[in-house]
C-alpha cells in the first residue's frame, strides 16, 4: 500500500468511525510519514474545532423578521391568484395524485411546481395524523415523506 492510499483510508476512518483497513494498519505500523500524518489529522481537528460556535449579534432576529415581513407581501399576492384557480387545480391534482398512488410509477412525474405544491397541500389537509403532531415534528416528517409513506398514510385514512 502507498502512503497516499493509507492516508486516504485514515481520513475516511477518522470521519466515519469504524475500524481501520487492515492493510492501512500494517502500512501505518512501518511508516513514520503516515504515523506523523495520523497525529496531524487529530491535531488539525483539534485546531479547527477550537473555533467554537459564535452567536449572532443583538438585533439579528429583529432584522431577520423585518426582512421576512417584507418578503411575505410577495407570496401573499401569489396565494391570492392561487385561490382563484384552486378548485380547478385541486381537482386535477387529486386526479393526478390518484393515478400516481394507485397505478403510477415509483417516481413522481415531473409536474410543475404549483401542481406539486397543490398536491402536497391537498394530501396534508386530509392527513389528521400530521395536524396532530408538534409543528416542528410535522415539518421534519413532511421533509422525509416519500411516496410509499404517503401511500401508507392515505390507506390508513381511508380505512378509518
Amino acid at each position: 500500500m502507498q502512503c497516499n492510499e493509507c492516508q486516504r483510508s485514515m481520513v475516511m476512518t477518522h470521519d466515519h468511525g469504524g475500524t481501520r483497513d487492515p492493510q492501512a494498519e500494517t502500512h501505518l505500523q512501518g511508516c513514520v510519514t503516515c504515523q506523523t500524518f495520523a497525529r496531524n489529522l487529530q491535531g488539525l481537528d483539534g485546531l479547527l474545532l477550537a473555533d467554537t460556535p459564535d452567536q449572532v449579534r443583538p438585533g439579528f432576529d429583529t432584522r431577520f423578521f423585518a426582512r421576512l415581513n417584507e418578503q411575505r407581501k410577495q407570496p401573499a399576492r401569489r396565494w391570492h391568484l392561487w385561490h382563484l384557480v384552486a378548485p380547478l387545480t385541486g381537482a386535477v391534482a387529486a386526479g393526478v395524485l390518484g393515478v400516481i398512488l394507485l397505478a403510477g410509477p415509483r417516481t413522481a412525474p415531473d409536474l410543475g411546481d404549483d401542481l406539486e405544491v397543490a398536491m402536497h397541500l391537498e394530501m396534508l389537509e386530509d392527513l389528521e395524523v400530521i395536524s396532530n403532531l408538534e409543528d416542528t415534528e410535522a415539518f421534519e416528517i413532511l421533509a422525509k415523506l416519500d411516496e410509499d409513506d404517503l401511500r401508507t398514510l392515505l390507506t390508513e385514512e381511508e380505512m378509518q
Binding site: 470521519d15 510519514t33 489529522l41 473555533d51 439579528f60 397541500l121 395536524s131 409543528d135
Partner: protein, 182 residues
C-alpha cells in the same frame, strides 16, 4: 388548509430558532466575516421560507437547509469581491460576553483558520466544514453539495491535506508536518 398554513408558519419560526446559529456559524466559517455571515444566514432562511411547500420529499431537513446554505455561500464566494474582503474584520465584532484577552486569542485563531479556509477551493471548504462541524456523513454532504459520495471523499481528503500544510506551524509536532504531507 388555513390551519395548516398557520401551523407551518409557526413551524418555520421553530426551525429558524433551531438552525439559526448552525447556519450562521457555517456561513461565518465559509465567508470568514461576521457581518456577511449574518446576512447570508438570513438569506438562507428567507429562501427556505419561500420554498417551504416545495421540499424534495425524500431529503432530511438538515441536509436540505445545508444544501441551501452551501449553495448560497458558494455563490457568494464565486463573486470575487467576497474573496478579496479583509477577513481580519472578524476581530471587529467580538461577542458581548467575551473577556478581552480570550476574545483576542480567539480572534487570532479564527483569523488564522479563516485564512486557511479561504485558500481552499470553496467546495473543499464546504465539504470539510459540513463533515467536521456538522458531523454530517459523506452521503449527506454529497446530497447537500449535489455531488457524489466519492467526490466528497476526495474533497475532504484534499481539504485536510491542504489545511495541514497551511496550518503546519500551529499543529503539535509542527516541524514534522511538512514532511508528512506529501
Amino acid at each position: 388548509m388555513l390551519a395548516f398554513q398557520a401551523g407551518s408558519e409557526e413551524a418555520f419560526v421553530k426551525l429558524y430558532r433551531l438552525y439559526r446559529d448552525r447556519i450562521f456559524n457555517f456561513a461565518r466559517r465559509m465567508l470568514g466575516d461576521q457581518a456577511q455571515a449574518e446576512e447570508a444566514a438570513q438569506d438562507v432562511f428567507l429562501k427556505i421560507y419561500r420554498a417551504k411547500d416545495r421540499y424534495r420529499a425524500n431529503s432530511k431537513f438538515s441536509t436540505y437547509i445545508f444544501r441551501v446554505a452551501s449553495n448560497h455561500c458558494l455563490n457568494l464566494l464565486a463573486r470575487k469581491e467576497h474573496r478579496l474582503t479583509d477577513h481580519g474584520e472578524m476581530a471587529d465584532h467580538p461577542s458581548n460576553n467575551d473577556d478581552p484577552e480570550s476574545s483576542a486569542s480567539r480572534s487570532q485563531l479564527r483569523s488564522i483558520i479563516a485564512e486557511a479556509v479561504r485558500d481552499l477551493p470553496s467546495k473543499q471548504a464546504a465539504a470539510l466544514l459540513l463533515c467536521l462541524h456538522e458531523g454530517m456523513t459523506y452521503r449527506d454532504v454529497a446530497e447537500a453539495l449535489d455531488t457524489s459520495e466519492s467526490a466528497i471523499k476526495s474533497l475532504v481528503f484534499r481539504a485536510r491535506e491542504t489545511m495541514m500544510k497551511k496550518l503546519s506551524t500551529q499543529l503539535p509536532g509542527a516541524e514534522e508536518v511538512a514532511h508528512a504531507v506529501q
